[in-house]
Amino acid sequence: MPNDNKQKPILIVNQSAPYGNANAKESLDLALASSAFEQALSILFTGDGIYQLLPKQSPDDIQSKNLLQMLKALPIYGVEQLYVDQQSLTERGITELDTQLPIVLVNSVEISRLYHDAQTVFRF
């Protein structure tokens, strides 16, 4: 299919905490692969997925790669906005996210729109 501005985006929904399982890593792999093929991409963080955006992650001692550092590379790959569910932050008592990420807070109406505007939805 030709790549044009009317192309509907792929929506990737991150609802898992980093490190406890492989979901966050696999989601990132899909995001990077999609952008390499110049696919329009929206990424939403909701539920436990917002834990991926906490600052100062340092997973060397649990033998994992730093997923936050990899998320910070997304703008280089053309992902300009990371949508974050405001309500999920409130429920988890989180007041501070990493300041280097291009975060856009969204409410439930905006989340619904992201799902409906997408051509394909992947949930991790």
């Binding site: 905490a17 490190y19 406890g20 539920g47 834990y51 340092s58 997973p59 001692d61 649990i62 988890r92």
Partner: protein
């Protein structure tokens, strides 16, 4: 005295409910893996395990990995040597996962 280990985040509400039914005030709790996200929340509710247990610990490596520092004064940061010591001091270990 029982040692309870919990490795899931607070969004797994069924797990917290089940632990709350069983736990007693002098039991020990160790938060590990995604369980350390419980340290972000304060809960003084006496029907919730966080409000019941007097001794709640969190593994330092798992806190550090996730960008957390235990600023929750009710939760003590421990290492693997402490984990081993607590395991041997308690009558049994129950893993909540």
């Amino acid at each position: 005295m029982i040692l309870h280990t919990l490795n899931k985040s607070p969004s797994n509400e069924a797990l917290s409910e089940q632990l709350s039914q069983v736990i007693q005030a002098d039991d020990q709790v160790i938060l590990l893996e995604d369980g350390v996200y419980h340290s972000l929340l304060e809960n003084n509710d006496t029907s919730h395990w966080l409000g019941i247990a007097a001794h709640v610990h969190a593994l330092n490596d798992d806190l550090k990995a996730r960008g957390l520092t235990s600023n929750n004064s009710a939760i003590k940061t421990i290492d693997y040597a402490d984990f081993v010591r607590l395991s041997s001091e308690c009558d049994k270990v129950i893993a909540w996962y």
